[in-house]
Structure formats: structure tokens, C-alpha cells
């Protein structure tokens, strides 16, 4: 996949092997230009000012909403701009009413952005939380979900791509089990949306949250996609400018569309950048991207195995080009720093998923190598070679 020339960061750092895309991806020039164009050509508020720049900004951002919604197979009317996946997940988890059903089900493999808001509600007594454990291969099978989800369940939260193992999970099946029990399904798409085709309508999700910066887009912009009718059931996290029809000192009448959740001036440059990222990925083709990642993922696993790394998670099932691993005797941070000295950028630690890492047996954390559209087989081979060289240190 010959896209490296589109990435100014790679041009500026030609020797660098960037294997930290699960943390944040690099941005192509098209995205940077789109974001910059807001500041150089539009520069106005959306949905507020009636001058021509204001009108044009509104048009462009609504076009962007339609593009981003279309990218995940959803309606623009159900898409709420957020800062990131975390804000989307918090909006859903804290915005739902648990007065009739108090139970929420999630898995131990989830990101802190899922677990922490749920655990806080649990600790305040607002929900009853059931956390499903994982198998020895770091997956959560459907049967376990089915056992945990029942008619008392209000919400099920899981991911469509795991940030510690790269396993793409079984979100569609979990959503079906949730619906069969009258519960809602909220999907953490932070690692799923960037790495494969997502179809919100087809998969029958209720909520889907994702970030722009992990899918070639800018930081500080993401989206919460919801079934339109469910938006009305959510209580916004924040109130402020742009969220109300009318307001007097005695009464607030909120808007009933997604603007109810978009208090204050939005990250307009980021919105245009995110739409450009969706365009960019669409142009490549998500199927082609998935095939590229499968090739990279297989090569990556082979290199890790040849270096004698302890890899977390199974290769079975759909998988992105992401692996967490440890080398015997090496502390994860030390190894990541040594790789950095060899111009290889990886992440080390718990990846904001400490319970998941504990469950997988990585109690002191791990090193994570995650590839994306701009990475090559040659880079994977060089990574493996370096890892084998570093293994001699431990």
C-alpha cells in the first residue's frame, strides 16, 4: 500500500518505524490541509452566525457530519460530535436512566474509558455491574456474554477492537444478545472503526463511540453515533450554548436533536479533518486496509515468535495488526526505550486497560506494537531483527 508519501511526519522522520498507531495514528496531508482550511478559509461559527462565512461553516460541518456518519453506516441525524471515544462512552453510560433496569454488563478486557465510568456508577449505587471474565486466549466468548446478560440488564458495553490484543471481538453477537434481553448495546469503536468496515445499521448497534485521532484524523474530535430515538433517552453530560430551543430563568427547553449534546463551540477544524480522514480511508477502501493489516499482523506475529516474545491474546478470529508482548527478563518500559533508541516507536505499560492486562497475566504491563495503513512488511522485518538483537540484553 503506497501511501507513505501522504504523511508529512514520515517524510520528516524517514528512519522511524512508527508502531504506535493504536495510541494515535499519523495524519496524512489531506487531513492536515482540511483542518487548516477551516482556519484559513472559514474561521466562523457553525449554526450561529448568519454572515456568509458562518453559513458556509455550517454547511461544511453538516457535510462532514454526513460523511462521518456514512463512513460507519449510520444516519447523520444520530451523530453527536464529541472530543473522543471517552466522552462518547461517558455520555452514554452516565446519560442513561437506570431506574427500571439497574444491571450493566461489560467485560474485563475493556478500556478504562468503559470500566471507570461504570465502576463509579456502581460505587455510587446507581447500577449493578457485572464484569465478564476472559478465556485463557484473552477473548470473551459469546456464551459468557449470554450467561451474564439477562432481562434485568439495561446496558451492555463492549468493544469492536481490543486495544491490548488486537482481537476484533464479537460485538455484533453481543449486541444481539443484549437486544434479545431488551437491553441496549454500546460499542467502544476506538480500535474497531479505524481498522475495519463498521456498519452501525447492519450490526444493529445502539450506540457507537470512536475517536478521530486513531483513524488518521485530528486529535480532540470524535463521535457518538446513536439510534436517533435513543438520543432522546440520554441526559447530556454538559449544557450550554447551542443546546436549547428556548430558555427563561424559570425553564429550559432543550433541542431534541443531537445539538442537545454539543454544548459550546465545537472543534470545527477537527470536524473537517475527521471528514477528510473518512474520505481518505474510503478512497483506500476498508477491505483493502483490512487485507493489508492481516498481512502485517501475520508478519508481526511471526517476528515476535522468532524473537521468543511472550504474546498476549490469540491469533484466532479477526485481528488487527496489533500485538502486546513481553520479552523474558525485560521490563516493558526498558524495552520500549531501547526500541526507541533504534528508531522504533512502540507503547509500553497497561494501555489504559489494567484489569485486562491483569487478566492476561501481564501484571507489570507489556509492550505494544500496532501497525496501520502506512506501515510496511520491511518495517515489520526490521522490528523483528531489532527485537532479536535486544533479546541478547536480557
Amino acid at each position: 500500500m503506497d501511501v507513505r508519501g501522504d504523511f508529512p511526519f514520515l517524510k520528516a522522520n524517514p528512519r522511524l518505524i512508527y508502531f504506535d498507531s493504536a495510541c494515535t495514528s499519523l495524519k496524512p496531508a489531506q487531513v492536515i490541509e482540511a483542518e487548516t482550511s477551516y482556519y484559513t478559509q472559514l474561521a466562523a461559527c457553525a449554526g450561529r452566525s448568519s454572515h456568509r462565512f458562518g453559513r458556509e461553516t455550517s454547511e461544511k460541518t453538516e457535510e462532514a457530519r454526513a460523511k462521518v456518519a456514512s463512513f460507519v453506516g449510520a444516519d447523520a441525524s444520530g451523530l453527536v460530535w464529541t472530543r473522543n471515544t471517552t466522552e462518547g462512552l461517558n455520555t452514554v453510560i452516565r446519560g442513561l436512566d437506570y431506574s427500571e433496569r439497574k444491571k450493566v454488563v461489560t467485560s474485563v478486557l475493556e478500556h478504562h474509558s468503559v470500566l471507570l465510568p461504570l465502576m463509579r456508577l456502581r460505587d455510587k449505587g446507581e447500577i449493578r455491574l457485572e464484569i465478564v471474565g476472559c478465556e485463557s486466549d484473552c477473548s470473551v466468548n459469546v456464551a459468557k456474554w449470554a450467561d451474564a446478560i439477562d432481562r434485568e440488564t439495561a446496558l451492555v458495553v463492549t468493544n469492536s477492537g481490543n486495544n491490548t490484543t488486537g482481537w476484533k471481538g464479537n460485538a455484533r453477537e453481543v449486541a444481539k444478545i443484549a437486544h434479545d434481553n431488551g437491553a441496549l448495546a454500546c460499542i467502544d469503536g476506538a480500535q474497531g472503526v479505524p481498522h475495519g468496515r463498521t456498519d452501525f445499521r447492519r450490526d444493529n448497534f445502539d450506540f457507537l463511540c470512536f475517536s478521530g485521532h486513531k483513524m488518521l484524523g485530528p486529535t480532540g474530535i470524535g463521535a457518538l453515533v446513536s439510534k436517533k430515538e435513543l438520543l432522546r433517552k440520554l441526559e447530556p453530560l454538559m449544557s450550554g450554548g447551542g443546546t436549547v430551543k428556548t430558555v427563561t430563568t424559570a425553564k429550559i427547553e432543550h433541542l431534541d436533536n443531537q445539538a442537545r449534546f454539543e454544548a459550546g463551540t465545537q472543534h470545527l477544524g477537527g470536524i473537517l479533518g475527521l471528514a477528510a480522514a473518512c474520505d481518505y480511508l474510503k478512497k483506500i477502501g476498508m477491505e483493502k486496509l483490512e487485507a493489508h493489516e492481516r498481512t502485517l499482523g501475520a508478519a508481526l506475529r511471526k517476528q515476535l515468535e522468532s524473537a521468543g516474545a511472550n504474546i498476549y491474546g490469540s491469533q484466532d478470529g479477526p485481528h488487527s495488526a496489533l500485538y502486546s508482548f513481553n520479552l523474558k527478563g525485560a521490563k516493558p518500559h526498558d524495552l520500549a526505550l531501547m526500541l526507541d533508541k533504534h528508531d522504533i516507536a512502540v507503547r509500553s505499560g497497561f494501555f489504559c486497560a489494567q484489569p485486562a492486562m491483569d487478566a492476561m497475566g501481564a501484571r507489570e504491563g507489556a509492550v505494544r506494537a500496532s501497525c496501520y495503513v502506512y506501515n510496511t512488511i520491511d518495517e515489520v522485518d526490521r522490528f523483528g531483527e531489532t527485537l532479536r538483537k535486544l533479546k541478547a540484553l536480557y
Binding site: H333, D334, M338, D340, K341, L390, L393
Partner: protein
């Protein structure tokens, strides 16, 4: 953590000269501070330094890099110990410089710097030309009509003058009757009891026993400096002096005046350290080896060294 202690010292000093090291100094200080507060260091600076060192070594030797990687904590403790020892020696050097005029202390074999007498810092400043004295009186030995005259300004409480004494004795024996040696006492005010000791040796010289007393003084230099007149009297008795004559001489103003003359000669010669030698007028500062004296004597027109060294 251990590494942060060293890093703090190093980066703190480097920060004085370059702003780019200041964030690192702050980071290492935070690490040291947290450690003192019994909290874990959270900066990761030590890990980054370790990676830097190991990666650099790995470029040319994998086994050495492995060794460093494995024993890094032990090595950092070793460096801490070396740093602390260096620091202690630095403090000791400053102390010695303040009290003894040199960084090496009273037992060192260099020269006693006389900056507080002459106002000149000698090797630490711009050297001044030394002017050979013309008077040949002092504590003398050898042949007064010899071609070569060695004049020495020295202090009996100066460890470097002491160091030189055996060389002078050897020279006088080697060049038996062919050189003339003049010792001019130059007591240093920063050394305790130095003037009284010089007076005592002058009085011993009157009784022709100056070498006996100065041998005892040099071998008991520290006690002489701390023991005062009582110690001196004991040594004078040990040197076999007539104590009545000694005491009379010691209290005689004439002895003091004679000593003052030698000190004045030293100042006029602009010496800045003891011992300072003039070999037929050519200066040599600090204790020198026998071969240096042999060459200087030969250069001054004296006989070749007996034994051909």
C-alpha cells in the same frame, strides 16, 4: 532513583552553562525530592538514561551492553559512591587550600603557596619574575668558595620543604666540597608555630647542630605545629643542644631580627612558594628530584654528578 542523584548533580552544574539542561535538572531534582519524601520516582529519567547508555554500548559490544543492562543498579551505586568520594575530596581540597595554601594538604609533595604573604598566587595566577638574593648568609653547608651556590628559601613547617631535605643532604654528600648550600628560613604565617621553629633552628645552627634539630622538626612536623614551645624544647634537648644557650638565643631579639632579614630577602626575591631554590641565581620552585638538581648544577658550571647519573 540512584541515577537521578548523579543526574541531579551533573545536570545542575550543566544548567549553569546551558538552558537546555535545566528541564533535565528539574526532572532529576523532582526524582530526588520524591525519593526523600519516600515516594516512588515518577519521571522515568533513570530509565531513559539507562536506555541511552545501554544502546550506546550495544553499538560496539553486545556482551558489555548485556552486562551493563543487568548490573545497571549496582553500577549506578558505584557511580554514586565515586561521586560522593570526589565531592569529599573536593571539599578537602578547598579546606587544604584555605589552611595550607594548596589543595593537597600538609603531606603533599608540591609547594607551599605564599599568596597571603606576597599577594601573588604563583601557579594560580600570572607568574612574577624571581629575583635571586645577593646575600649568602643563612644556615650554610658545603664549600663557601665553590663554583655553584644553592640558595634555598624554605619553611620548617612546610611539608614540601621537608620533602626536599633528604635531597639536599644527598647532594651535599655527592658533591662533597664542590657546592655551597645556603638555607634561608622563610616561616609561613599560615602555619602554626612556624616562626618559633625557625628561631629554634637558627639557635641550633649557632651550636652547629642545626641538621640535628631540623631532622627532628621535620620528622615531628605536625606535633611541632600543635605543641608550641614545650614541644620545641623537648626536640632541642633531643638534638643535644645546650639548653641554657638555646633559651638565651631563642629569646634574643637579635635572633628575631635575623629571621626578619631572611623573610625580607624572600619577599624581595618575590618568591611565591617554599621551597624556592636559586642555583647560581637560576630559580627552581618546589621540591625537585635529584636528577633535576644534577642537571641544574651542571648547567651552572658545576662538576658533573659523581657516579654519572
Amino acid at each position: 532513583m540512584v541515577l537521578c542523584i548523579i543526574a541531579f548533580f551533573v545536570f545542575a552544574v550543566m544548567s549553569i552553562f546551558s538552558a537546555k539542561y535545566r528541564p533535565l535538572a528539574k526532572e532529576s531534582f523532582r526524582c530526588v525530592f520524591r525519593t526523600l519524601m519516600l515516594k516512588p520516582c515518577d519521571t522515568g529519567l533513570d530509565q531513559r538514561i539507562k536506555a541511552e547508555v545501554v544502546a550506546a554500548v550495544l553499538r560496539f559490544s553486545a556482551p558489555l551492553a548485556k552486562l551493563i543492562n543487568r548490573y545497571f543498579t549496582a553500577l549506578t551505586w558505584l557511580f554514586v559512591a565515586i561521586t560522593l568520594i570526589s565531592l569529599a575530596y573536593t571539599v578537602l581540597g578547598i579546606y587544604n587550600f584555605y589552611f595550607y595554601g594548596n589543595c593537597d594538604g600538609p603531606q603533599a609533595i608540591n609547594a607551599c603557596i605564599l599568596n597571603d604573604i606576597t599577594g601573588d598566587y604563583g601557579r594560580f595566577g600570572v607568574p612574577v619574575p624571581l629575583i635571586p638574593p645577593t646575600a649568602l648568609d643563612g644556615i650554610t653547608a658545603g664549600n663557601a668558595s665553590a663554583n655553584v651556590t644553592i640558595i634555598e628559601f624554605g619553611c620548617f613547617t612546610c611539608p614540601y620543604t621537608r620533602e626536599d631535605e633528604s635531597t639536599m643532604k644527598t647532594l651535599l654528600q655527592m658533591y662533597n666540597g664542590t657546592i655551597y648550600y645556603v638555607f634561608k628560613p622563610f616561616p609561613l604565617p599560615q602555619h602554626n608555630n612556624s616562626f618559633d621553629i625557625a628561631r629554634a633552628v637558627l639557635c641550633a645552627y649557632d651550636q652547629n647542630r642545626s641538621w640535628d634539630l631540623q631532622d627532628l622538626v621535620f620528622s615531628n612536623q605536625a606535633q611541632c605545629m600543635s605543641g608550641g614551645d614545650t614541644e620545641l624544647e623537648t626536640l632541642a634537648q633531643g638534638a643535644g643542644l645546650n639548653m641554657d644557650e638555646f633559651n638565651t638565643c631563642f629569646d634574643d631579639n637579635q635572633t628575631g631580627a635575623q629571621l626578619a632579614t631572611y623573610v625580607q630577602e624572600g619577599k624581595e626575591a618575590q618568591i611565591y612558594a617554599t621551597p624556592t631554590f636559586f642555583i647560581n641565581g637560576k630559580p627552581l620552585v618546589g621540591p625537585q628530584s635529584l636528577s633535576v638538581f644534577e642537571k641544574a648544577i651542571a648547567a651552572a658550571g658545576g662538576p658533573a654528578a659523581p657516579g654519572g647519573s
